[in-house]
C-alpha cells in the first residue's frame, strides 16, 4: 500500500541526483586506493616514479613472482591456511555444541552464561596478553602455530557462539522433539536434525572467522617470531618494512594477499555482510 502511494506521488519527491553524486564520490574514495594498489602492482618502480596513480603502460608480471619468492609466500600461505582451517573447524565444533546446548537445551543459568560471553568478548586483549605470553612461554607454546590456534579459538568463539545460538533459536522445536521421541540422543539430534537446518548459519560464521584469521596481524606478531612460522599478514608486516620504498614489489605482495579475500567476498557478499554485521560485537 505505502509502496503504491510512494509511486503515485513519485513526481513530487525530491531529486535523487545529489544522492547518486555523493555515493559515486564515496565509492571512489573506498575503491580508488584499491585500484591504485592493483595498478602499481603491475608497474616497474621507474614507472611508479612518474605515474603513481594511473593504469600501467606495460605489464610487469614478474613483480608477483619476485614478491612470492622474496616474501616466502609458499611457507606463509601454508601457515595461514593451517590456521584458518583448524580455527574454523574448532570454533564451529566447540562453539556449535555450546550454542546448541545454550539455545535448545536451555539449562538453568544459560542466560547468565550468555552475559558472561558478552563480557568476555569486550575484555580488551591487552589486559591478559602480557601474562598470557608468560604462561604460554612456560609451557612452550610461544612461537608455535598450535599456541596461536588456541588463542584464535578463544578470541573468535564468543561471537560465534552468539551468532550460532541466534540461528538455532529460530528453528521450531517440533523436529527435535520428534527425533527425541524416536530415542535419539542429544548428539544425534544435533547432527541429524539441527545441522541440516542451520548449516547456512555455520557457513556464515565459518566465513567470518576465516576472514578474520587470514587478516589477523597483531596477535601473531606478538606470539610468533620465527619467519618460517609466520602467517601471511604478519609476514607482510616485515615484508613492507624490508622493502620500504619498493612500491611495485610491496603492492604485488599485497595483491596476492587480498585477491582471494575480495573474490570470496564478492561471491558470498550477502553471507559476509550478514555475519559481520551481526557480529558487530567483535572487533
Amino acid at each position: 500500500m505505502s509502496e503504491m502511494l510512494r509511486l503515485f506521488r513519485g513526481g513530487r519527491r525530491a531529486s535523487l541526483v545529489p544522492n547518486y553524486t555523493v555515493m559515486v564520490l564515496l565509492a571512489l574514495f573506498s575503491l580508488g586506493p584499491v585500484c591504485v594498489l592493483a595498478f602499481n602492482s603491475l608497474k616497474s618502480n621507474l614507472e611508479i616514479g612518474d605515474n603513481s596513480l594511473g593504469p600501467p603502460t606495460e605489464l610487469h608480471l614478474e613483480n608477483f613472482f619476485n614478491a612470492w619468492v622474496q616474501g616466502a609466500f609458499g611457507t606463509t600461505v601454508r601457515n595461514s591456511l593451517f590456521l584458518v582451517v583448524t580455527t574454523v573447524a574448532l570454533v564451529l565444533l566447540l562453539g556449535g555444541i555450546a550454542a546448541y546446548a545454550l539455545a535448545r537445551l536451555k539449562p538453568p543459568g544459560a542466560d547468565a552464561y550468555m552475559v558472561y560471553m558478552v563480557a568476555l568478548s569486550t575484555v580488551p586483549v591487552w589486559l591478559y596478553l602480557v601474562p598470557l605470553f608468560v604462561i604460554l612461554k612456560r609451557i612452550g607454546l610461544i612461537d608455535s602455530l598450535w599456541g596461536l590456534l588456541l588463542l584464535y579459538v578463544a578470541l573468535e568463539s564468543p561471537f560465534s557462539i552468539f551468532l550460532l545460538r541466534s540461528f538455532m533459536l529460530e528453528v521450531p522445536s517440533d523436529f527435535e522433539d520428534a527425533a527425541r521421541v524416536d530415542g535419539a540422543s542429544e548428539w544425534q539430534v544435533l547432527i541429524r536434525v539441527m545441522l541440516p537446518i542451520v548449516w547456512p548459519g555455520f557457513l556464515t560464521v565459518g566465513l567470518v572467522v576465516a576472514l578474520s584469521v587470514w587478516n589477523e596481524f597483531q596477535i601473531a606478531y606478538v606470539f610468533i617470531h620465527s619467519p618460517e612460522l609466520q602467517p601471511v599478514a604478519t609476514s607482510y608486516y616485515s615484508f613492507q618494512r624490508r622493502f620500504y620504498t619498493d612500491w611495485a614489489l610491496t603492492s604485488a605482495a599485497a595483491m596476492m594477499m587480498i585477491t582471494p579475500v575480495i573474490c570470496f567476498f564478492l561471491a558470498l557478499q550477502r553471507r559476509f555482510i550478514e555475519g559481520l554485521a551481526q557480529g558487530g560485537l567483535k572487533g
Binding site: S2, V130, F272
Partner: protein, 319 residues
Amino acid sequence: MALDIARKAYRRGAVAYVQKARRRLGGRSFRRNVLPWLFVAPISLVHLIIVIIPALFGLYYSLTEWPGVGRPEFVGLQNFRTLFFKDMHFRQAFNHNLMWVAFFLTVPFIMSLSAASLVAQIRRAAMFFRTLLFVPYVLPGVVVAFVWRMMMSPRVGAGAQLARWGLDIPLLGHPFLGDTQTALWAVAFVANWPWWGFLMTLFLAAMQAISPELYDAAKIDGANRWQEFRNVTLPGIRPTVVFMYLMSAIWSFTSFGYVWVLTQGGPGVSTELLVTYLYKKAFRYFEVGYGAAIGLTVTALAGTLVVLSTLLRRRGWEI
C-alpha cells in the same frame, strides 16, 4: 482441521511419552542440567586457559616489578603511582588516546550516518553501493596501512602525482605521516577508511527496518529531509547507534595495529597510544609488571564507560 487435531494429539502423546521415558531413565535432570554444560565445557576450558587465568595473573603482575625472568617482586601500587604521577610518556600517550577516541566517536559516525541515509533513499543500486563501500572492511589492516602509506607518500602519493599531472593542490603533498603535527590525525584517517563503511552497513540495515509509513506520514506533514532524518530515522536506529558508540569507545581505547604498522608511535612520540606504549614497555623494555599495570588501566577506562552507560540507562536515560 482433522489433520490439525491429529497433530495436536500426536504431540501431546509424544510429550507424555518423552516425559515418561525421561522419568524412567532418571534422565530428566541429567539431560536438562548436566548434559548441556558438558556441551559448553570444552570451549569454556579454552576461555579459562587463554583469557580468565591470564587476566587474573595480569591483576597480580600489575602489583609487581618484574623483568620477565626470575621472581616477580611485589611492590604494591607503585606502578600505578609512577604511571599516573611521574610518567610523562604515559601522559602523552593518554592525551593522544583521548584525541583518538574523540575522532572515532565523531568522524566515522557523521560519515556513515549521512551515507546511510543517502543510500536508504535510493532504491536502485542501493545494495550495489553498499557492497562497494564495504570492500575496504574485508581487507587486512596491514594492507590498508601500506596502501595509504603509499597514497600519502610525498614522492609517489596522490598529491605528488596530481601535481605531476598539473593539478597542484597545495596541502595534499604534505608528508602527513612524517609531521608530528599531523601524524596522529593521518593515522586516524587511515584507520577510519575501512571502518566507516562497516558502520554504514549496520546503520543502513537498521534504517531499512523502519516502517515506510512513518516516512509517508512525515512527508504528508511537509517535513524536509533534515526533519525527516531528525524525527524519523534517528529515533528508529538509536539502539544500533548507541551500541556502536559504546563499542567504538572501547575499541579506540585499545587501538594498536594501524599506529604500529604506520608509525610505531613516532615521529617522536606524536602518535603514541596507550597500547603501543604498553607493547613497548612489556615486549621491548621487558617491564612486564609495568606493562600489566597499563593493561589494567586501559581495561578500567573501557570498563568505566560500560558501567556508566548501563547505570545511566537503568536510571531511565534515553540512550
